[in-house]
Symmetry: C2
Subunit: 345 residues, 2 copies
C-alpha cells in the first residue's frame, strides 16, 4: 500500500478552537446550510429545527466567521472611515455620528487616520480597500487624483464630509469653509468692525476660511489687518492665548479677531481677560465649530456652527440608503453656514 503523493494542505484538527457551522450542524442534527439559514433568515426554517439550532449555537458559543461570509457574499458589513486625526474632538464627533448611524444597520467601522498627509491618506485608503468595505466615509475632500480614481473604482458608495465641492467622488455632506469665512467677515463688518484679523491653521480647510474672509474684506474695501497661522494640529487653547497676546500688541490694535477654530478662540478670550481687554467692546472675538465650551464661557463665544455629529450621522444614512439599493439623486448635501451670535462679537 503506497502512501501516494501527498500534496496540498495536510488534514489535521483545526488549531482554532472556534466552532464553525459544521460543529453546530452536527450538534443540531441538521445540515450546514440549514444552520446558516436559521441564523440569517429564521422564518425560512421550521421552528423546531430552529430551536435545536439555537440551542446548539448557545451551547457551543458559535460566532459566525464574517471573513468567510464576506468572501462569498461580497458584503463585508464594514464601513471604512478616513479621518485626518483622531486627536481632534471635532472629527471624532463626526465619527460618533457615523458610529450611531452605522450600528443601526448592523455594520461596523474600520477607522484610520492620515495625520493630514496625502501619502498616508492614499496608503490608508488602499489598506482599507483590502477589506472590501461596503461603503467609505471620509472627513475632508480627497484632492489627490490617484486616491480619487482608486475610490471611484472601488464600486462602493463614498461620502466626503466637512467641506464642499461641486465635484464629489460620489457624495458630499458638508459645508463650504470659504462661505464660513465670508459669513463671519460680513458679520463682523456689519457690527462695525473695521480692523479684522484672521487666525488659523495650515490645513486646507483653514485656508479656505481665510480666503473667504479676505474676499469679503476686499469687497468691502478693508484690508486684513494681519493673519496668523499656527502649525499645531490639532490647535490648542494655549496656542490661542499666545497668538492673542501677539495680536494685542499690534499697532493700531485690531477690533476683531476671527479664529478659525473655537479652541483657538477660547484661548483668545482667556488671554484678553487676562490682559484686561474688554471683549467685545475693545476687541470682538469669534470662532468656528460651536464647541460646548464656547457656550459656557464668559463672555459666550460667537461662532460658526458646525454640525460635526450630524454630518457623520447623515453620511451614515446616505451610505445605508445606497446599500439598501436606493439611487440617490442628491449627491451634494450642504448644511450651510450658521453664525451663532453670542456675547464675544
Amino acid at each position: 500500500m503506497t502512501k501516494g503523493k501527498r500534496r496540498g494542505r495536510p488534514i489535521r484538527p483545526r488549531p482554532d478552537n472556534a466552532p464553525n457551522l459544521e460543529d453546530v450542524a452536527r450538534r443540531a442534527g441538521t445540515s450546514i446550510i440549514t444552520v446558516s439559514r436559521a441564523l440569517r433568515q429564521p422564518d425560512k426554517v421550521r421552528p423546531e429545527t430552529r430551536a435545536r439550532i439555537t440551542a446548539a449555537v448557545e451551547a457551543l458559543g458559535y460566532i459566525p466567521n464574517l471573513a468567510a461570509s464576506s468572501l462569498v457574499s461580497r458584503r463585508s458589513g464594514i464601513i471604512a472611515v478616513v479621518v485626518p486625526t483622531l486627536g481632534n474632538s471635532i472629527f471624532t464627533d463626526t465619527l460618533h455620528g457615523l458610529s450611531d448611524g452605522v450600528t443601526a444597520a448592523g455594520r461596523q467601522l474600520l477607522v484610520g487616520d492620515t495625520g493630514y498627509s496625502e501619502a498616508a491618506e492614499h496608503a490608508l485608503i488602499t489598506a482599507l480597500a483590502g477589506r472590501r468595505p461596503d461603503g467609505i466615509a471620509i472627513v475632508g475632500i480627497v484632492r489627490n487624483l490617484r486616491s480619487r480614481t482608486l475610490l471611484s473604482g472601488l464600486g462602493v458608495p463614498v461620502v466626503e464630509t466637512w467641506d464642499m465641492t461641486d465635484d464629489p467622488i460620489d457624495h458630499v455632506v458638508g459645508f463650504s469653509n470659504e462661505a464660513a469665512g465670508r459669513a463671519m467677515a460680513r458679520y463682523l463688518i456689519d457690527r462695525g468692525r473695521r480692523r479684522l484679523v484672521f487666525v488659523g491653521g495650515n490645513d486646507l480647510r483653514s485656508r479656505a476660511r481665510e480666503a473667504g474672509y479676505r474676499a469679503v474684506l476686499q469687497e468691502a474695501g478693508l484690508a486684513t489687518a494681519a493673519a496668523f497661522f499656527t502649525d499645531q494640529s490639532p490647535s490648542s487653547f494655549g496656542e490661542g492665548r499666545r497668538l492673542m497676546h501677539r495680536i494685542s500688541t499690534l499697532e493700531p490694535r485690531p477690533d476683531a479677531v476671527f479664529f478659525s477654530t473655537d479652541v483657538l478662540a477660547v484661548g483668545g478670550i482667556i488671554e484678553c481677560r487676562q490682559l484686561g481687554i474688554d471683549v467685545p467692546r475693545e476687541i470682538a472675538i469669534a470662532g468656528l465649530g460651536d464647541l460646548e465650551i464656547g457656550r459656557a464661557l464668559v463672555p459666550a463665544l460667537t461662532t460658526v456652527q458646525i454640525p460635526s455629529y450630524q454630518m457623520g450621522r447623515r453620511a451614515a444614512e446616505i451610505l445605508s440608503q445606497r446599500l439598501a439599493g436606493a439611487d440617490l439623486a442628491e449627491k451634494i448635501v450642504d448644511f450651510g453656514v450658521n453664525i451663532v451670535a453670542r456675547d464675544s462679537a
Copy 2:
C-alpha cells in the same frame, strides 16, 4: 447529450470588477502562488519575476482581498476596540494612541461604542469577535461575566484600560480610579481644606473616584460636605457651571470641590469667577483628566493627570508584542496617579 444535473453555484463572470491573484498571475505570466509570495515575501522571488508581478499589480490596480487572506491564514490584521462613547475626547485620545501604536504594525482598528450599556457591550464584543480580530482593546474593565468568558475564550490577547484590577481578563493598562480619588482628597486636606465636596458622573469609574475620596475623608475624621452627580455623559462645561452654582449656595459653604472630570471642573471655575468667588482662596477647585484647557485657564486647573493617549499607545504595544509571540509576564501596568498642582487648588 444530456445537460445533466446542474447543482451548486453556476459558473459565470465575476460580478466584481476587482482583479484577483489569478488576473495578476496571468498578466505576469506566472502562477497564483508566486504572485502571493512576491507580495508577502519579496526576497523569495527572483527579481525579474518580481518586477513583472509588480508591473501587473500596478497595471491592474490589484488590492489583495484581506477577507480571503484572514480566512486561510487565521490572521485578520484587525484590532477590535471597545469604547464607552465616541463623544468624549478623553476616550478618543486613547483611541488615538491605539491607532498610532497599531498602524506601525500594519494592523487596522475596528471600533465600536457601547453607550455605557453592559448589554450593548456584550453585543458589540460578539459582533467584533465575528471578524476574528488578532487582539482586543477595551476602554474600561469588563464586569459582565459572560462577556469576560467570551473574551477569554477567543484565544487572542485582550487589554483592558482606564481602570485597575487585580484580575484582568488578560492584560490591564490603567490606573486606579479609587486611588485618584484618595490622592485628591489627601491633597486637598493637606492644603488645609476641611469642607470637601465631590462632583461626578454616574458611571463606574466616577463612583470609584468618589469611594476613594470619601474613604480618605473618613480616615481624616472629616465628613463629605456633599456629593453631586450628573447623568450627563459625557459631561459638559455648562453642567459644571450649574452644579457649581448649586454648591455655592450650601451652608456652610464648602472650601474645596473635586470634580470627577476636568470638563466639569472648568465649568466650576468659570461659574466661580462669574459669582465673584475667589478661586482658590475661598474655594479650591480640582479636576481629573489634565485636559489642555485646564492649563490655559485662569486660574490654571489643579488636576489628576490621566495619560489617555499613552494608555492607548501602551495597550497597542502590548498587543503587538503578544502577537509577535512574546509571553509577557507583566499583566498589570499601573500608570499610577499624579496630581498636577496648579493654581486652582
